[in-house]
Protein backbone atom coordinates (compact mmCIF):
# COMPACT_ATOMS: atom_id res chain seq x y z
CA UNK A 1 0.00 0.00 0.00
CA UNK A 2 1.04 3.55 -0.62
CA UNK A 3 1.45 6.23 2.03
CA UNK A 4 -1.93 8.07 1.94
CA UNK A 5 -0.04 11.35 1.68
CA UNK A 6 1.56 10.19 -1.56
CA UNK A 7 -1.32 8.64 -3.46
CA UNK A 8 -2.15 11.85 -5.27
CA UNK A 9 1.30 12.03 -6.81
CA UNK A 10 0.87 9.30 -9.42
CA UNK A 11 -2.43 10.79 -10.59
CA UNK A 12 -0.86 14.24 -10.80
CA UNK A 13 2.06 12.72 -12.68
CA UNK A 14 -0.32 11.05 -15.13
CA UNK A 15 -2.08 14.32 -15.89
CA UNK A 16 1.24 16.11 -16.22
CA UNK A 17 2.39 13.38 -18.63
CA UNK A 18 -0.69 13.99 -20.78
CA UNK A 19 -0.17 17.75 -20.60
CA UNK A 20 3.42 17.25 -21.70
CA UNK A 21 2.33 15.64 -24.97
CA UNK A 22 -0.30 18.37 -25.51
CA UNK A 23 2.32 21.09 -24.97
CA UNK A 24 4.53 19.16 -27.36
CA UNK A 25 1.79 19.41 -29.98
CA UNK A 26 1.38 23.12 -29.19
CA UNK A 27 5.09 23.66 -29.67
CA UNK A 28 4.98 21.79 -32.98
CA UNK A 29 1.89 23.61 -34.29
CA UNK A 30 3.14 27.10 -33.43
CA UNK A 31 6.63 26.32 -34.71
CA UNK A 32 5.08 25.36 -38.05
CA UNK A 33 2.76 28.38 -38.05
CA UNK A 34 5.71 30.66 -37.28
CA UNK A 35 7.55 29.20 -40.26
CA UNK A 36 4.56 29.63 -42.54
CA UNK A 37 3.64 33.18 -41.59
CA UNK A 38 7.10 34.35 -40.45
CA UNK A 39 5.36 35.62 -37.35
CA UNK A 40 7.45 36.35 -34.25
CA UNK A 41 4.35 36.02 -32.09
CA UNK A 42 3.84 32.41 -33.16
CA UNK A 43 7.53 31.75 -32.58
CA UNK A 44 7.23 33.09 -29.02
CA UNK A 45 4.10 31.02 -28.35
CA UNK A 46 5.96 28.01 -29.69
CA UNK A 47 8.83 28.59 -27.25
CA UNK A 48 6.43 29.19 -24.37
CA UNK A 49 4.73 25.87 -25.22
CA UNK A 50 8.11 24.16 -25.15
CA UNK A 51 8.94 25.83 -21.83
CA UNK A 52 5.64 24.48 -20.43
CA UNK A 53 6.57 21.05 -21.81
CA UNK A 54 9.97 21.28 -20.10
CA UNK A 55 8.34 22.37 -16.84
CA UNK A 56 6.03 19.32 -17.02
CA UNK A 57 8.98 17.02 -17.69
CA UNK A 58 10.93 18.45 -14.75
CA UNK A 59 7.86 18.22 -12.50
CA UNK A 60 7.79 14.48 -13.14
CA UNK A 61 11.20 14.08 -11.43
CA UNK A 62 10.08 14.75 -7.82
CA UNK A 63 6.56 13.38 -8.37
CA UNK A 64 7.79 10.00 -9.53
CA UNK A 65 11.04 9.95 -7.51
CA UNK A 66 13.04 9.63 -10.71
CA UNK A 67 16.76 9.09 -10.26
CA UNK A 68 19.74 7.52 -12.01
CA UNK A 69 19.22 6.80 -15.68
CA UNK A 70 15.58 7.90 -15.49
CA UNK A 71 16.95 11.45 -15.34
CA UNK A 72 18.74 10.69 -18.60
CA UNK A 73 15.38 9.63 -20.03
CA UNK A 74 13.91 13.02 -19.11
CA UNK A 75 16.86 14.77 -20.77
CA UNK A 76 16.42 12.67 -23.92
CA UNK A 77 12.72 13.42 -23.94
CA UNK A 78 13.40 17.13 -23.78
CA UNK A 79 15.88 16.86 -26.65
CA UNK A 80 13.61 14.62 -28.73
CA UNK A 81 10.53 16.79 -28.37
CA UNK A 82 12.61 19.89 -29.20
CA UNK A 83 14.35 18.47 -32.24
CA UNK A 84 11.63 16.33 -33.89
CA UNK A 85 9.23 19.14 -34.98
CA UNK A 86 12.16 21.20 -36.30
CA UNK A 87 13.47 18.17 -38.19
CA UNK A 88 10.06 17.48 -39.72
CA UNK A 89 9.71 21.16 -40.68
CA UNK A 90 13.02 21.09 -42.54
CA UNK A 91 12.02 17.82 -44.16
CA UNK A 92 8.70 19.37 -45.27
CA UNK A 93 10.55 22.22 -46.92
CA UNK A 94 13.02 19.87 -48.58
CA UNK A 95 10.41 17.40 -49.85
CA UNK A 96 7.97 19.99 -51.18
CA UNK A 97 10.60 22.38 -52.44
CA UNK A 98 11.84 19.93 -55.05
CA UNK A 99 8.55 20.04 -56.96
CA UNK A 100 6.93 16.89 -58.26
CA UNK A 101 5.15 15.08 -61.01
CA UNK A 102 1.57 15.56 -62.13
CA UNK A 103 -1.14 14.72 -59.59
CA UNK A 104 -3.16 11.52 -59.75
CA UNK A 105 -6.25 12.53 -57.82
CA UNK A 106 -9.52 13.68 -59.30
CA UNK A 107 -9.25 17.13 -57.74
CA UNK A 108 -6.07 19.11 -58.30
CA UNK A 109 -6.58 22.22 -56.24
CA UNK A 110 -3.20 23.40 -55.04
CA UNK A 111 -1.78 25.02 -58.17
Amino acid sequence: MVDPGRIHTFAGAALIGGAMVLFGAGYAIFHALAGLSRSRRFAYISLVSYAALAACALALVPLLDLEGWWLGLIALLLIGYFVAPRFIWRLSLAVHGEGGGPPEGAARPED
Binding site: M1, F10, G17, V21, G24, A32, S37, R108
Partner: protein
Protein backbone atom coordinates in the same frame (compact mmCIF):
# COMPACT_ATOMS: atom_id res chain seq x y z
CA UNK B 1 -22.19 4.86 -64.78
CA UNK B 2 -25.35 6.43 -63.35
CA UNK B 3 -24.70 9.53 -61.27
CA UNK B 4 -26.18 9.07 -57.81
CA UNK B 5 -27.34 5.51 -58.57
CA UNK B 6 -25.89 2.22 -57.36
CA UNK B 7 -23.18 1.20 -59.84
CA UNK B 8 -22.17 -2.06 -58.19
CA UNK B 9 -21.78 -3.96 -61.45
CA UNK B 10 -19.63 -1.18 -62.90
CA UNK B 11 -17.03 -1.76 -60.20
CA UNK B 12 -14.04 -3.99 -60.79
CA UNK B 13 -14.04 -7.48 -59.25
CA UNK B 14 -11.73 -6.48 -56.41
CA UNK B 15 -13.86 -3.42 -55.63
CA UNK B 16 -17.02 -5.54 -55.53
CA UNK B 17 -15.20 -7.83 -53.12
CA UNK B 18 -14.29 -4.77 -51.04
CA UNK B 19 -17.95 -3.83 -50.77
CA UNK B 20 -18.62 -7.28 -49.30
CA UNK B 21 -15.79 -6.86 -46.78
CA UNK B 22 -17.05 -3.39 -45.82
CA UNK B 23 -20.60 -4.74 -45.39
CA UNK B 24 -19.51 -7.47 -42.99
CA UNK B 25 -17.26 -4.95 -41.21
CA UNK B 26 -20.22 -2.68 -40.53
CA UNK B 27 -22.41 -5.57 -39.33
CA UNK B 28 -19.66 -6.50 -36.89
CA UNK B 29 -19.21 -2.83 -35.87
CA UNK B 30 -22.89 -2.74 -34.94
CA UNK B 31 -22.51 -6.05 -33.07
CA UNK B 32 -19.50 -4.60 -31.23
CA UNK B 33 -21.62 -1.65 -30.08
CA UNK B 34 -24.56 -3.81 -28.98
CA UNK B 35 -22.41 -6.24 -27.00
CA UNK B 36 -20.56 -3.25 -25.52
CA UNK B 37 -23.86 -1.82 -24.34
CA UNK B 38 -24.81 -5.17 -22.80
CA UNK B 39 -21.46 -5.41 -20.99
CA UNK B 40 -21.81 -1.77 -19.85
CA UNK B 41 -25.29 -2.51 -18.52
CA UNK B 42 -23.89 -5.42 -16.51
CA UNK B 43 -21.60 -2.99 -14.67
CA UNK B 44 -24.77 -1.16 -13.57
CA UNK B 45 -26.97 -4.22 -12.98
CA UNK B 46 -24.66 -7.17 -12.29
CA UNK B 47 -27.55 -9.67 -12.37
CA UNK B 48 -28.63 -8.58 -15.85
CA UNK B 49 -28.61 -11.65 -18.15
CA UNK B 50 -26.51 -13.55 -15.59
CA UNK B 51 -26.36 -17.20 -16.61
CA UNK B 52 -27.83 -16.35 -20.01
CA UNK B 53 -25.26 -14.05 -21.54
CA UNK B 54 -22.49 -13.53 -18.99
CA UNK B 55 -20.30 -10.43 -18.78
CA UNK B 56 -17.15 -12.29 -19.82
CA UNK B 57 -18.87 -13.46 -23.01
CA UNK B 58 -20.27 -10.01 -23.83
CA UNK B 59 -16.87 -8.45 -23.28
CA UNK B 60 -15.15 -11.11 -25.38
CA UNK B 61 -17.57 -10.69 -28.30
CA UNK B 62 -17.36 -6.89 -27.96
CA UNK B 63 -13.57 -6.91 -28.31
CA UNK B 64 -13.30 -9.76 -30.84
CA UNK B 65 -15.93 -8.10 -33.04
CA UNK B 66 -13.86 -4.93 -32.98
CA UNK B 67 -10.62 -6.69 -33.95
CA UNK B 68 -12.34 -8.61 -36.75
CA UNK B 69 -14.34 -5.70 -38.18
CA UNK B 70 -11.24 -3.56 -38.33
CA UNK B 71 -9.37 -6.35 -40.12
CA UNK B 72 -12.30 -6.63 -42.55
CA UNK B 73 -12.15 -2.87 -43.05
CA UNK B 74 -8.41 -3.00 -43.74
CA UNK B 75 -8.72 -5.98 -46.12
CA UNK B 76 -11.61 -4.27 -47.91
CA UNK B 77 -9.51 -1.13 -48.30
CA UNK B 78 -6.57 -3.13 -49.65
CA UNK B 79 -8.73 -4.88 -52.25
CA UNK B 80 -10.23 -1.52 -53.18
CA UNK B 81 -6.87 0.02 -54.01
CA UNK B 82 -4.91 -3.00 -55.28
CA UNK B 83 -6.10 -2.96 -58.91
CA UNK B 84 -5.89 0.82 -59.19
CA UNK B 85 -2.43 0.86 -57.67
CA UNK B 86 -1.06 -2.09 -59.69
CA UNK B 87 -2.82 -1.26 -62.97
CA UNK B 88 -3.85 -4.89 -63.56
CA UNK B 89 -6.81 -7.08 -62.50
CA UNK B 90 -6.59 -9.24 -59.38
CA UNK B 91 -4.53 -12.36 -60.13
CA UNK B 92 -6.70 -14.84 -58.22
CA UNK B 93 -10.33 -13.73 -58.18
CA UNK B 94 -11.71 -17.18 -57.33
CA UNK B 95 -9.32 -17.60 -54.43
CA UNK B 96 -10.16 -14.08 -53.23
CA UNK B 97 -13.90 -14.77 -53.38
CA UNK B 98 -13.50 -18.13 -51.63
CA UNK B 99 -11.30 -16.54 -48.95
CA UNK B 100 -13.99 -14.00 -48.15
CA UNK B 101 -16.71 -16.62 -47.72
CA UNK B 102 -14.50 -19.04 -45.76
CA UNK B 103 -13.35 -16.24 -43.43
CA UNK B 104 -16.88 -14.95 -42.92
CA UNK B 105 -18.25 -18.44 -42.29
CA UNK B 106 -15.44 -19.11 -39.78
CA UNK B 107 -16.10 -15.83 -37.95
CA UNK B 108 -19.82 -16.66 -37.77
CA UNK B 109 -19.19 -20.16 -36.40
CA UNK B 110 -16.70 -18.85 -33.82
CA UNK B 111 -19.16 -16.22 -32.54
CA UNK B 112 -22.06 -18.73 -32.42
CA UNK B 113 -19.88 -21.14 -30.43
CA UNK B 114 -18.88 -18.29 -28.04
CA UNK B 115 -22.57 -17.64 -27.41
CA UNK B 116 -23.76 -21.25 -27.21
CA UNK B 117 -20.91 -22.70 -25.10
CA UNK B 118 -20.30 -20.06 -22.45
CA UNK B 119 -18.84 -22.19 -19.66
CA UNK B 120 -17.40 -25.63 -19.02
CA UNK B 121 -14.07 -27.37 -18.48
CA UNK B 122 -10.95 -26.17 -20.28
CA UNK B 123 -8.82 -28.83 -21.96
CA UNK B 124 -7.08 -29.63 -25.23
CA UNK B 125 -10.42 -30.37 -26.89
CA UNK B 126 -11.97 -27.00 -25.95
CA UNK B 127 -8.74 -25.23 -26.92
CA UNK B 128 -9.05 -26.61 -30.44
CA UNK B 129 -12.80 -26.29 -30.88
CA UNK B 130 -14.33 -23.71 -28.51
CA UNK B 131 -12.06 -21.08 -27.00
CA UNK B 132 -8.28 -20.77 -26.82
CA UNK B 133 -8.53 -18.65 -23.69
CA UNK B 134 -6.17 -15.84 -24.66
CA UNK B 135 -7.70 -12.43 -24.05
CA UNK B 136 -8.61 -10.53 -27.25
CA UNK B 137 -7.66 -13.48 -29.49
CA UNK B 138 -9.90 -16.14 -27.98
CA UNK B 139 -10.66 -17.83 -31.32
CA UNK B 140 -10.11 -21.63 -31.06
CA UNK B 141 -7.09 -23.22 -32.68
CA UNK B 142 -8.94 -24.38 -35.83
CA UNK B 143 -10.02 -20.79 -36.46
CA UNK B 144 -6.47 -19.54 -35.77
CA UNK B 145 -5.13 -21.81 -38.49
CA UNK B 146 -7.96 -20.74 -40.79
CA UNK B 147 -7.21 -17.05 -40.18
CA UNK B 148 -3.54 -17.54 -41.06
CA UNK B 149 -4.44 -19.50 -44.22
CA UNK B 150 -6.88 -16.77 -45.26
CA UNK B 151 -4.23 -14.11 -44.63
CA UNK B 152 -1.78 -16.12 -46.77
CA UNK B 153 -4.39 -16.32 -49.55
CA UNK B 154 -4.98 -12.56 -49.32
CA UNK B 155 -1.23 -11.98 -49.35
CA UNK B 156 -0.92 -14.15 -52.47
CA UNK B 157 -3.56 -12.10 -54.24
CA UNK B 158 -2.22 -8.71 -53.23
CA UNK B 159 1.48 -9.48 -53.77
CA UNK B 160 0.73 -11.45 -56.95
CA UNK B 161 -1.26 -8.58 -58.42
CA UNK B 162 1.55 -6.13 -57.77
CA UNK B 163 4.05 -8.57 -59.27
CA UNK B 164 1.88 -8.88 -62.39
CA UNK B 165 1.36 -5.13 -62.60
CA UNK B 166 3.47 -2.26 -61.32
CA UNK B 167 5.12 -1.70 -57.98
CA UNK B 168 5.04 1.56 -56.05
CA UNK B 169 6.22 2.81 -52.69
CA UNK B 170 2.77 2.25 -51.23
CA UNK B 171 2.48 -1.29 -52.58
CA UNK B 172 5.98 -2.23 -51.41
CA UNK B 173 5.29 -1.15 -47.83
CA UNK B 174 1.86 -2.77 -47.96
CA UNK B 175 3.13 -6.17 -49.08
CA UNK B 176 5.94 -6.24 -46.50
CA UNK B 177 3.48 -5.21 -43.81
CA UNK B 178 1.10 -8.04 -44.76
CA UNK B 179 3.93 -10.52 -44.20
CA UNK B 180 4.48 -9.08 -40.72
CA UNK B 181 0.73 -9.07 -40.04
CA UNK B 182 0.29 -12.76 -40.84
CA UNK B 183 3.63 -13.77 -39.30
CA UNK B 184 3.03 -12.07 -35.96
CA UNK B 185 -0.29 -13.86 -35.52
CA UNK B 186 1.68 -17.12 -35.27
CA UNK B 187 3.16 -15.87 -31.97
CA UNK B 188 -0.30 -16.12 -30.42
CA UNK B 189 -0.92 -19.68 -31.54
CA UNK B 190 1.41 -21.83 -29.47
CA UNK B 191 0.92 -22.56 -25.84
CA UNK B 192 3.22 -22.85 -22.85
CA UNK B 193 2.34 -23.66 -19.26
CA UNK B 194 4.67 -20.89 -18.04
CA UNK B 195 2.37 -17.89 -17.69
CA UNK B 196 4.98 -15.09 -18.03
CA UNK B 197 6.36 -16.80 -21.13
CA UNK B 198 2.88 -17.25 -22.54
CA UNK B 199 2.06 -13.58 -21.94
CA UNK B 200 5.41 -12.59 -23.43
CA UNK B 201 4.48 -14.05 -26.85
CA UNK B 202 0.82 -13.12 -26.59
CA UNK B 203 1.79 -9.43 -26.41
CA UNK B 204 3.66 -9.79 -29.67
CA UNK B 205 0.30 -10.25 -31.39
CA UNK B 206 -1.55 -7.60 -29.41
CA UNK B 207 1.04 -4.82 -29.29
CA UNK B 208 2.96 -5.41 -32.48
CA UNK B 209 -0.24 -5.72 -34.48
CA UNK B 210 -1.84 -2.60 -33.07
CA UNK B 211 1.13 -0.29 -32.54
CA UNK B 212 3.27 -1.41 -35.46
CA UNK B 213 1.73 -3.36 -38.36
CA UNK B 214 -1.76 -1.85 -38.15
CA UNK B 215 -0.32 1.66 -37.95
CA UNK B 216 1.77 1.03 -41.07
CA UNK B 217 -1.19 -0.56 -42.88
CA UNK B 218 -3.25 2.51 -42.03
CA UNK B 219 -0.36 4.67 -43.28
CA UNK B 220 -0.54 2.89 -46.68
CA UNK B 221 -4.33 3.27 -46.86
CA UNK B 222 -4.12 6.92 -45.83
CA UNK B 223 -1.38 7.63 -48.38
CA UNK B 224 -3.55 6.27 -51.20
CA UNK B 225 -6.59 8.08 -49.79
CA UNK B 226 -4.76 11.42 -49.73
CA UNK B 227 -3.78 11.01 -53.37
CA UNK B 228 -7.40 10.32 -54.29
CA UNK B 229 -9.22 12.85 -52.08
CA UNK B 230 -6.80 15.78 -52.19
CA UNK B 231 -4.80 15.12 -55.30
CA UNK B 232 -1.64 15.00 -53.17
CA UNK B 233 1.53 14.25 -55.11
CA UNK B 234 2.51 10.59 -55.02
CA UNK B 235 6.23 11.24 -54.50
CA UNK B 236 5.60 13.40 -51.46
CA UNK B 237 3.04 11.05 -49.94
CA UNK B 238 5.35 8.08 -50.46
CA UNK B 239 8.27 9.90 -48.86
CA UNK B 240 6.15 10.61 -45.78
CA UNK B 241 4.99 7.01 -45.69
CA UNK B 242 8.63 5.87 -45.45
CA UNK B 243 9.31 8.42 -42.69
CA UNK B 244 6.22 7.31 -40.78
CA UNK B 245 7.25 3.66 -41.05
CA UNK B 246 10.71 4.51 -39.70
CA UNK B 247 9.34 6.58 -36.81
CA UNK B 248 6.56 4.14 -35.91
CA UNK B 249 8.77 1.06 -35.99
CA UNK B 250 11.65 2.92 -34.33
CA UNK B 251 9.61 3.73 -31.24
CA UNK B 252 6.77 1.20 -31.48
CA UNK B 253 8.61 -2.13 -31.63
CA UNK B 254 10.44 -1.79 -28.32
CA UNK B 255 7.52 0.21 -26.93
CA UNK B 256 6.27 -3.36 -26.50
CA UNK B 257 8.16 -3.17 -23.20
CA UNK B 258 5.32 -1.26 -21.53
CA UNK B 259 3.33 -4.49 -21.59
CA UNK B 260 6.17 -6.39 -19.93
CA UNK B 261 6.26 -4.33 -16.73
CA UNK B 262 4.18 -6.64 -14.53
CA UNK B 263 4.03 -10.09 -16.17
CA UNK B 264 7.12 -11.58 -14.55
CA UNK B 265 9.73 -10.54 -17.11
CA UNK B 266 13.19 -9.22 -16.02
CA UNK B 267 13.43 -5.75 -14.48
CA UNK B 268 15.27 -4.23 -17.43
CA UNK B 269 11.96 -4.14 -19.29
CA UNK B 270 10.90 -1.29 -16.99
CA UNK B 271 13.66 0.85 -18.49
CA UNK B 272 13.21 -0.32 -22.10
CA UNK B 273 9.43 0.01 -21.96
CA UNK B 274 9.57 3.38 -20.22
CA UNK B 275 12.13 4.79 -22.65
CA UNK B 276 10.56 3.70 -25.94
CA UNK B 277 7.03 4.39 -24.74
CA UNK B 278 8.10 7.94 -23.94
CA UNK B 279 9.34 8.22 -27.53
CA UNK B 280 6.11 6.88 -29.07
CA UNK B 281 4.22 10.21 -29.05
CA UNK B 282 7.12 12.02 -30.77
CA UNK B 283 6.22 10.80 -34.32
CA UNK B 284 2.63 11.87 -33.70
CA UNK B 285 3.72 15.30 -32.46
CA UNK B 286 6.17 15.69 -35.30
CA UNK B 287 3.56 14.82 -37.89
CA UNK B 288 1.47 17.74 -36.64
CA UNK B 289 4.11 19.98 -38.21
CA UNK B 290 3.65 18.42 -41.60
CA UNK B 291 -0.15 18.69 -41.37
CA UNK B 292 0.14 22.41 -40.55
CA UNK B 293 2.69 22.87 -43.34
CA UNK B 294 0.42 21.27 -45.92
CA UNK B 295 -2.68 23.11 -44.75
CA UNK B 296 -0.80 26.43 -44.87
CA UNK B 297 1.12 26.01 -48.12
CA UNK B 298 -1.62 24.44 -50.21
CA UNK B 299 -5.28 25.43 -50.25
CA UNK B 300 -6.52 21.90 -50.82
CA UNK B 301 -10.03 21.32 -52.10
CA UNK B 302 -11.57 17.93 -51.74
CA UNK B 303 -14.20 16.22 -53.85
CA UNK B 304 -15.26 13.98 -50.96
CA UNK B 305 -15.93 16.00 -47.81
CA UNK B 306 -17.16 13.15 -45.58
CA UNK B 307 -14.00 11.16 -46.35
CA UNK B 308 -11.79 14.19 -45.72
CA UNK B 309 -13.56 14.96 -42.43
CA UNK B 310 -12.93 11.41 -41.23
CA UNK B 311 -9.29 11.56 -42.39
CA UNK B 312 -8.84 14.73 -40.30
CA UNK B 313 -10.58 12.97 -37.41
CA UNK B 314 -8.03 10.18 -37.83
CA UNK B 315 -5.08 12.57 -37.46
CA UNK B 316 -6.47 14.15 -34.28
CA UNK B 317 -7.90 10.93 -32.87
CA UNK B 318 -4.63 9.06 -33.26
CA UNK B 319 -2.73 11.86 -31.53
CA UNK B 320 -5.19 12.21 -28.65
CA UNK B 321 -6.11 8.56 -28.07
CA UNK B 322 -2.75 6.92 -28.67
CA UNK B 323 -0.43 9.85 -27.88
CA UNK B 324 -1.91 11.82 -24.97
CA UNK B 325 -4.05 9.08 -23.38
CA UNK B 326 -1.25 6.56 -23.86
CA UNK B 327 1.55 8.64 -22.38
CA UNK B 328 -0.55 9.48 -19.32
CA UNK B 329 -0.10 5.94 -18.04
CA UNK B 330 2.87 4.53 -19.89
CA UNK B 331 5.69 5.26 -17.43
CA UNK B 332 6.05 2.28 -15.05
CA UNK B 333 5.88 4.49 -11.96
CA UNK B 334 2.32 5.45 -12.97
CA UNK B 335 1.37 2.27 -14.77
CA UNK B 336 1.90 0.29 -11.56
CA UNK B 337 -1.37 1.79 -10.31
CA UNK B 338 -3.34 2.18 -13.53
CA UNK B 339 -2.79 -0.96 -15.62
CA UNK B 340 -5.81 -3.18 -15.95
CA UNK B 341 -8.17 -0.56 -14.53
CA UNK B 342 -10.78 1.37 -16.48
CA UNK B 343 -7.95 3.84 -17.11
CA UNK B 344 -6.49 1.33 -19.60
CA UNK B 345 -9.95 0.79 -21.00
CA UNK B 346 -10.32 4.54 -21.53
CA UNK B 347 -7.05 4.62 -23.50
CA UNK B 348 -8.03 1.52 -25.48
CA UNK B 349 -11.41 2.92 -26.50
CA UNK B 350 -10.12 6.33 -27.58
CA UNK B 351 -7.01 5.02 -29.32
CA UNK B 352 -8.76 2.31 -31.36
CA UNK B 353 -11.51 4.68 -32.37
CA UNK B 354 -9.16 7.57 -33.19
CA UNK B 355 -6.56 5.54 -35.02
CA UNK B 356 -8.57 2.87 -36.83
CA UNK B 357 -12.34 3.38 -36.89
CA UNK B 358 -11.88 6.81 -38.44
CA UNK B 359 -9.68 5.61 -41.31
CA UNK B 360 -11.95 2.68 -42.22
CA UNK B 361 -15.01 4.99 -42.25
CA UNK B 362 -13.10 7.48 -44.42
CA UNK B 363 -12.24 4.72 -46.86
CA UNK B 364 -15.84 3.49 -47.01
CA UNK B 365 -16.89 7.01 -48.03
CA UNK B 366 -14.32 6.84 -50.85
CA UNK B 367 -15.85 3.55 -51.95
CA UNK B 368 -19.38 4.98 -51.77
CA UNK B 369 -18.35 7.86 -54.02
CA UNK B 370 -17.22 5.41 -56.67
CA UNK B 371 -20.29 3.23 -56.13
CA UNK B 372 -22.49 6.29 -56.76
CA UNK B 373 -20.84 6.97 -60.10
CA UNK B 374 -17.99 9.28 -59.00
CA UNK B 375 -20.32 12.02 -57.81
CA UNK B 376 -19.11 15.10 -56.03
CA UNK B 377 -19.69 14.50 -52.30
CA UNK B 378 -19.59 17.97 -50.83
CA UNK B 379 -20.40 19.34 -47.39
CA UNK B 380 -23.58 20.79 -48.86
CA UNK B 381 -24.87 17.75 -50.74
CA UNK B 382 -28.40 16.56 -50.18
CA UNK B 383 -28.66 14.82 -46.80
CA UNK B 384 -25.22 16.01 -45.69
CA UNK B 385 -26.62 16.53 -42.20
CA UNK B 386 -26.52 12.77 -41.74
CA UNK B 387 -22.76 12.37 -42.08
CA UNK B 388 -22.12 15.52 -40.05
CA UNK B 389 -24.39 14.40 -37.20
CA UNK B 390 -23.04 10.85 -37.33
CA UNK B 391 -19.50 12.22 -37.09
CA UNK B 392 -20.46 14.50 -34.19
CA UNK B 393 -22.46 11.87 -32.25
CA UNK B 394 -19.79 9.22 -32.62
CA UNK B 395 -17.04 11.60 -31.49
CA UNK B 396 -18.98 13.17 -28.61
CA UNK B 397 -19.99 9.68 -27.50
CA UNK B 398 -16.44 8.36 -27.69
CA UNK B 399 -14.79 11.30 -25.95
CA UNK B 400 -17.48 11.30 -23.25
CA UNK B 401 -17.11 7.57 -22.74
CA UNK B 402 -13.32 7.85 -22.54
CA UNK B 403 -13.53 10.61 -19.90
CA UNK B 404 -16.09 8.61 -17.89
CA UNK B 405 -13.83 5.55 -18.00
CA UNK B 406 -10.84 7.71 -17.05
CA UNK B 407 -12.66 8.92 -13.93
CA UNK B 408 -13.62 5.33 -13.06
CA UNK B 409 -10.02 4.23 -13.59
CA UNK B 410 -8.70 7.10 -11.49
CA UNK B 411 -10.95 5.99 -8.63
CA UNK B 412 -9.94 2.34 -9.08
CA UNK B 413 -6.25 3.26 -9.04
CA UNK B 414 -6.74 5.05 -5.73
CA UNK B 415 -9.10 2.76 -3.88
CA UNK B 416 -8.18 -0.62 -5.32
CA UNK B 417 -4.46 -0.22 -5.99
CA UNK B 418 -2.94 2.55 -3.88
CA UNK B 419 -5.06 2.34 -0.73
CA UNK B 420 -6.34 -1.23 -0.93
CA UNK B 421 -3.05 -2.78 -2.08
CA UNK B 422 -4.65 -4.73 -4.95
CA UNK B 423 -6.28 -7.33 -2.75
CA UNK B 424 -9.35 -9.26 -3.87
CA UNK B 425 -11.42 -7.31 -1.32
CA UNK B 426 -10.05 -4.00 -2.61
CA UNK B 427 -10.94 -5.04 -6.16
CA UNK B 428 -14.63 -5.16 -5.24
CA UNK B 429 -14.41 -2.15 -2.91
CA UNK B 430 -13.07 -0.12 -5.83
CA UNK B 431 -16.11 -0.96 -7.93
CA UNK B 432 -18.73 0.03 -5.39
CA UNK B 433 -17.49 3.57 -4.74
CA UNK B 434 -19.87 6.35 -5.90
CA UNK B 435 -17.34 7.86 -8.35
CA UNK B 436 -16.96 4.52 -10.09
CA UNK B 437 -20.70 3.84 -10.23
CA UNK B 438 -21.52 7.32 -11.50
CA UNK B 439 -18.79 7.07 -14.13
CA UNK B 440 -20.30 3.78 -15.33
CA UNK B 441 -23.68 5.50 -15.74
CA UNK B 442 -22.08 8.26 -17.79
CA UNK B 443 -20.23 5.65 -19.85
CA UNK B 444 -23.56 3.98 -20.59
CA UNK B 445 -25.20 7.28 -21.60
CA UNK B 446 -22.36 8.13 -23.96
CA UNK B 447 -22.39 4.56 -25.29
CA UNK B 448 -26.06 4.96 -26.24
CA UNK B 449 -25.21 8.28 -27.90
CA UNK B 450 -22.47 6.59 -29.88
CA UNK B 451 -24.74 3.77 -30.95
CA UNK B 452 -27.23 6.35 -32.25
CA UNK B 453 -24.36 7.93 -34.18
CA UNK B 454 -23.42 4.56 -35.67
CA UNK B 455 -27.00 3.85 -36.79
CA UNK B 456 -27.06 7.27 -38.49
CA UNK B 457 -23.68 6.54 -40.09
CA UNK B 458 -24.95 3.23 -41.48
CA UNK B 459 -28.05 4.97 -42.87
CA UNK B 460 -25.77 7.55 -44.48
CA UNK B 461 -23.65 4.80 -46.05
CA UNK B 462 -26.81 3.65 -47.81
CA UNK B 463 -27.98 7.14 -48.82
CA UNK B 464 -24.86 9.34 -49.24
CA UNK B 465 -24.56 10.74 -52.74
CA UNK B 466 -27.90 9.25 -53.84
CA UNK B 467 -29.40 12.61 -54.86
CA UNK B 468 -26.14 14.04 -56.21
CA UNK B 469 -25.84 14.63 -59.94
CA UNK B 470 -22.63 16.65 -60.15
CA UNK B 471 -19.66 14.52 -61.22
CA UNK B 472 -16.17 14.95 -59.75
CA UNK B 473 -15.01 16.23 -63.14
CA UNK B 474 -17.13 19.36 -62.73
CA UNK B 475 -14.74 20.30 -59.94
CA UNK B 476 -11.57 19.47 -61.81
CA UNK B 477 -12.41 21.04 -65.17
CA UNK B 478 -12.46 24.73 -64.16
CA UNK B 479 -9.07 24.31 -62.51
CA UNK B 480 -7.67 22.64 -65.57
CA UNK B 481 -9.06 25.45 -67.66
CA UNK B 482 -7.61 28.02 -65.29
CA UNK B 483 -4.23 26.30 -65.39
CA UNK B 484 -4.41 26.19 -69.16
CA UNK B 485 -5.35 29.87 -69.32
Amino acid sequence: MTLGGINYHELSFAQRLSVKYFTVAMVLFLAQMLFGLLAGAQFLWPDFLFGVLDFNVNRMVHINAMVVWMLYGFIGSIFWLVEDESGVPLVGPRIAEATFWVLTLAVTVVVVVYLVVQSGPGNQWTLWLINEGREYIEAPRWADIGIVLCMVAIFYNVAGTFVAGRWSGISGVLVLDLIALAGLYLAGMFYTTNLPMDQYWWWWVIHLWVEATWEVLVGCIMAWGLIKTLGARRRIVTTWLYIEVALMFGSGILGLGHHYFWIGTPEYWLGIGGFFSALEPIPLVAMVVHAVYDAGRHSFRSNNHPALAWLIAHAFGNFLGAGVWGFMQTLPQINMYTHGTQWSSSHGHLAFFGAYTTIVVAFIYLAIQRLRGDVWMSAGMDGAWRWKWALALLHIGMVGMSIALLIAGYEQSFVERAVGGSTWQAYFAGQTQPWFVQAMWWRMAFGVLMTAGLVLLLVDFLRAGAQETRPIKSLALPQAAAAGG
